[in-house]
Symmetry: C2
Subunit: 699 residues, 2 copies
């Protein structure tokens, strides 16, 4: 792996660069790339390659890469698509280490483009070259030792501690421009295009131990190799923050992502949970990405979610409070000593509660006397300080007072400065001290939310993966000869039961008389279900009769079921089942995604899950902390807790079932899908049991 990532040096740290397809024409990409390399001040030689012209951008040209006298580390290809393979081959022969293929006309156009892309990769592999692109905007490295702009970006960013990957070339341009406008310096940048070779994950790995890079920003539309991404990101986010804008969040957006990049966008829900599981901070807009990057570069991560707000204007204080609450953060409650200090320092009209309102007459002294006690309060994890600059107040003195008081506290502070004095000395004083300044309270609140999330992620202790003793032989035998498709209920249950998943007691019969007998054996009340090979959605067909209290009722219900369903389902039989003693229903399941592997699902069970679609998803592997986190994240999580005199549901039982299910599907890769719905949860200590389950096998 180390060798693999180091090999990107040919792309980002070349000693010489050739531009193949360099052009004289104003506005041509082949000219812009040459101009950018020269303008950025690349430290090594730049060779322009073009057999049809003698000079490009005042440089003598070479007829081919082979004709260049010295060695070439990096070649930027701007030739027509049909020439790319030939040129790549020549680059390989020349000993080029990195290719940036800007040319489009590969996988994204389908047909011959797909073939061409495959052949490009084969050539690169043969010669040990790493490739960025094709169909990309290029790479940038602002390190003064290189000053490399091997791209046609109109913006060359100022040096800084952020590294960025963009899967969209056009957006990459906008990202560079906006980063510069937001005052965020960039260390390295890559527009990865079709990612025939180098992916976002490769770049993250390359930047993992690069001390210039503090924060990594991603704009992605799909994952080339999710497993590799997860492995790398999970490791790197433990010490470097990664922020991602992943387009394709909505179904409509995902459809667009799929049509435009020529790759099938992974189901967004899997992408979302995957990013969260590996500690990547996902934001939905570039604005939020830059706002957050600035804070992560300069501020520590809070130890908790208790936020204090200090303001000199009530209105913005309320807007900040609203926005914080909207993100699920808490308003800190102050210790008595803090409140006492505020009472002493502030006039009667001020508010000493959080948000602390110093009122419009607040000067530097009043900020000093309030920000100090508040930030030092042990119940405060972070501070947002607002300042609407009134004409009669010395804004720079206020800024200095804030800076003095918060220094050395180790707690993050974000500032909001509104009104006329934006852009003046006060802003400069705050920024110099690393206090990021936002224009609106909601921007600061949204950023604080993500800082808190990052803190949570860093504090989260990894769980364990328990291994259960199971009867593995039965499933192995059962699956050996089984056909692909849905298993019948009996075999699905047997499979799950072999891995220790408990089921409600039940007896399968064929005739109404046997059903009544079975019911007496099980004990009343019972549930009666019809079963048949093609009968999947039982409740749609009223194939389940609940609350049967006598043998006569069972007999009558059985008769009716068989009569009604036999016509459509000739192999219909009956299952007489104990009424499960529990009081809450959940769904537990797994679906194998072709790209992400097993996705585990936990949600509210029974009818609700179908209609409300309230479920949590995790990309496997899950650990013993995962199921509880999944249940907590449900919208209707409260429905599993104690209420109205009923005890809480035994979520530990449900968690164990999900982990046992994971063991089952890991042991038996032919299981494509498994769903236990409902699993009926009792109070802790009482038996929780599954009453229905489905299992689907792949070929």
């Amino acid at each position: 792996m180390a060798g693999r990532s180091k090999s990107l040096d040919g792309l980002f740290r070349p000693r010489s660069v050739a531009v193949v397809g360099a052009s004289r024409r104003q506005g041509a990409i082949g000219r812009q790339v040459v101009a950018n390399l020269v303008e950025a001040g690349f430290e090594g030689p730049v060779y322009a390659v073009n057999p049809k012209t003698k000079v490009v951008h005042s440089m003598p040209t070479y007829a081919s890469i082979g004709r260049i006298p010295g060695p070439v580390d990096l070649a930027v290809l701007v030739v027509p698509a049909v020439d790319v393979l030939r040129v790549a081959e020549a680059c390989g022969r020349k000993g080029v280490k990195g290719l940036v293929v800007i040319t489009a006309g590969f996988r994204e156009i389908g047909g011959e483009g797909v073939t061409r892309e495959k052949r490009l990769l084969a050539i690169a592999r043969r010669y040990g070259m790493r490739v960025i692109g094709p169909n990309c905007m290029g790479v940038i490295n602002t390190d003064p030792a290189f000053s490399l702009s091997a791209s046609f970006s109109a913006t060359y960013p100022s040096p800084g501690a952020v590294a960025m990957v963009s899967q969209s070339g056009a957006l990459g341009e906008a990202i560079l421009a906006d980063a510069t406008a937001s005052g965020i310096g960039v260390s390295m940048f890559a527009s990865v295009g079709n990612r025939v070779d180098v992916t976002a994950a490769d770049l993250i790995e390359y930047w993992e131990h690069d001390d210039h890079v503090k924060v990594i920003l991603l704009y992605i539309e799909s994952f080339g190799d999710p497993a590799h991404f997860v492995e790398v990101a999970r490791r790197v986010t433990r010490h470097k923050a990664i922020i991602a804008v992943k387009a394709g969040r909505s179904e409509a957006g995902a459809a667009a992502a799929s049509s435009h990049t020529g790759s099938i966008a992974g189901a967004d829900i899997a992408a979302d949970t995957m990013l969260a599981q590996c500690g990547v901070l996902r934001v939905e807009s570039l604005r939020k990405m830059f706002a957050l990057a600035a804070a992560l570069l300069h501020q520590p991560v809070p130890k908790g979610a208790r936020i204090a707000v200090v303001t000199n204007a009530g209105g913005p204080g309320i807007l900040a409070t609203d926005a914080l609450s909207g993100c699920g953060l808490e308003m800190a409650e102050f210790a008595e000593a803090t409140t006492a200090a505020l009472v002493k320092a502030l006039p009667a009209e001020a508010s000493v509660q959080n948000p602390v309102d110093l009122i419009a007459s607040a000067d530097a002294d009043r900020y000093r006397a309030s920000v100090g006690p508040v930030i030092r309060d042990k119940g405060v994890d972070a501070l947002i300080v607002l300042f609407v600059s009134p004409i009669m107040i010395d804004a720079a003195a206020v800024a200095q007072a804030i800076v003095d008081e918060v220094q050395g506290t180790g707690k993050p502070v974000l500032a909001v400065v509104m009104g006329r004095s934006r852009g003046d000395e006060a802003l400069e004083i705050l920024r110099r001290a690393g206090i990021v300044v936002y224009r609106y309270p909601e921007d600061a609140a949204a950023t604080m939310h993500m800082l808190v999330e990052r803190g949570r992620m860093l504090r989260r202790k990894p769980g364990k993966r328990p291994r259960f003793n199971v009867r593995a032989q039965g499933p192995r035998t059962a699956l050996r000869g089984a056909k692909a498709g849905w298993l019948d209920s009996r075999r699905a249950e047997a499979l799950l039961a072999a891995y220790g998943i408990p089921f409600a007691k039940s007896i399968r019969v064929k005739e109404p008389g046997d059903a009544a007998t079975a019911a007496h054996e099980i004990g009343f009340p019972v549930v009666l279900k019809a079963e048949a090979s093609d009968l999947l959605h039982k409740s749609d067909l009223h194939a389940v009769v609940t609350g049967l209290h006598t043998g006569d009722e069972v007999f009558a219900a059985a008769k009716e079921l068989l009569k009604r369903l036999r016509r459509r389902f000739p192999d219909v039989t009956l299952q007489v089942q104990q009424r499960a003693p529990g009081h809450r229903e959940v769904l537990l399941g797994m679906k194998r995604d072709p790209r992400y592997g097993p996705l585990f699902v936990a949600g509210l069970g029974g009818v609700q899950v179908e209609v409300l679609r309230d479920f949590a998803v995790r990309v496997g592997p899950i650990d013993d902390r995962s199921p509880a986190e999944m249940f907590e994240s449900l919208q209707g999580a409260a429905l599993l807790q104690a209420f109205r005199g009923d005890p809480a549901a035994d979520l530990a039982a449900a968690s164990e079932v999900l982990l046992r299910l994971q063991q089952l599907v890991d042991d038996h890769p032919r299981i494509a899908e498994a769903e236990i719905n409902p699993f009926i949860l009792a109070a802790p200590g009482q038996p929780s049991v599954a009453v229905d389950a489905r299992v689907r096998l792949s070929e």
Copy 2:
């Protein structure tokens, strides 16, 4: 009303202004107000009043308002709080028509401040003066006939078509500064402070027929007189858009709003529904307010929610699609002719589906050939056009092509321009044509969402308020002597039943034997409930036994209930109730708010409503379209529709109950709270019935 609003002319269209408390001191508000009046170029005379100094800002001063030789229309008071009443009295005697009281130290400080504020109002009423403030920043009117800045705002906005009210002085300053920065011109501005007299509603009414004012912006923290606001806003929003940022959305924010303005912020849920009901567009941030204001000033409102996106960069197109879907808007589906035109005009790599991706090489011709067919498609209600300016494309030509194609279509168009060429000629061409340009896709999407909302509001036909024939005499008699507090179940049911609300058949008994007899009379299965005067939350105490199928079961359950509950509730009796035939449960209720009047509630019934808190609220009066809208807005709305083989619930029955409940509580103002939960809905045509209800009376 006309006379009332016209009287604000003294505040906004004065012929002369006196500043009482004018000051020589640099940085003093009393100096800034004088300087602002002069600098803005007020058309009439400005008089500086200060008995202690001879000259302020190069103006000779007057010792008192009475000493001013000519008439004074507007007086701005910047004197200490203790002097305000005396000065106001003098202003009244002088014939002043409008007072702007900038001085703080009134209701917001409590105690003597409250008294002072009341006395200020009394003086104003006596002399027929209208008052803005106290504790405010002043008023502005940019109409060149007045050029009035009677405020200490550091910003004097450029003239324009927006009128603004801010309840926060400090934020008012920020709003003016940001409006100016956003290129939004302002007609009139008022910072209303404590609103002792002039409220936001008064100002809206004043601007109702003012042709200079096209869009009204509000920053509010609470409503002085909700009923007046509703009456005015409901009328004005039919022809002028009103956008509001109301702080105090969260519970924490509401607590802050209440402590800092000295007014008790109304429950935000009531404020939210009230604003929506009177057609006010509520946004959660100033950023969104300005983004929306710009669009409303220059673009028409869409006739539907089907949005098209045209882009030259896939990534931003996907981000726009994501943001639109996130707002609940639809991606338009193109007619065949449109798709054919796009196929013809675009290269193979482009996407002809919505979002249309012209790819990076798109020039003006390609924009022209795609924007035209798309905007003219009958299935497209509005367009967002994105442009990430690549170096080789003539951005100004692209902008001109967009402008040419969309003109005269009557459909709203918003633009997003990203990348380097922001601020250049292209932006100017778009803006001159009234096409608002945003920096990020999500800003355009959020704005489009509100434009669609405004379109919906304008198209919504007002419903009717049906009047039911009811037996009003019974309730009148019953309520005459009733004590305040919760009614017992029997009387609550009788009250509701008199207004035609159907209940499940039931019989009340005292002994187990009678319960069994009653059950036989009603027919099995039955439900048995314990009732007692203090027994409110029955299910918490397991005081309801369902699914009783035999007389023996009823007897046993009745015995157990009485034995268990009699100790704690000596007056416990029993209700034997028919099991309601329906299959879905809703809650229907009313709670009278001291400030907003009756709030009507509809939500999912039974256990869910308590735990998931999924309900919709409307401020009364509601009409016959309201209940259906309320049910549709529930998160779990799908639970009331047909699914899994069960028919939809009879929402018409539930709607009628809510309207009958409204008639009941309107007829009987002593009803403070009424709740029918659950109301069990059957399929349409089957009987839907209430099975439990509570009614609380006020004194």
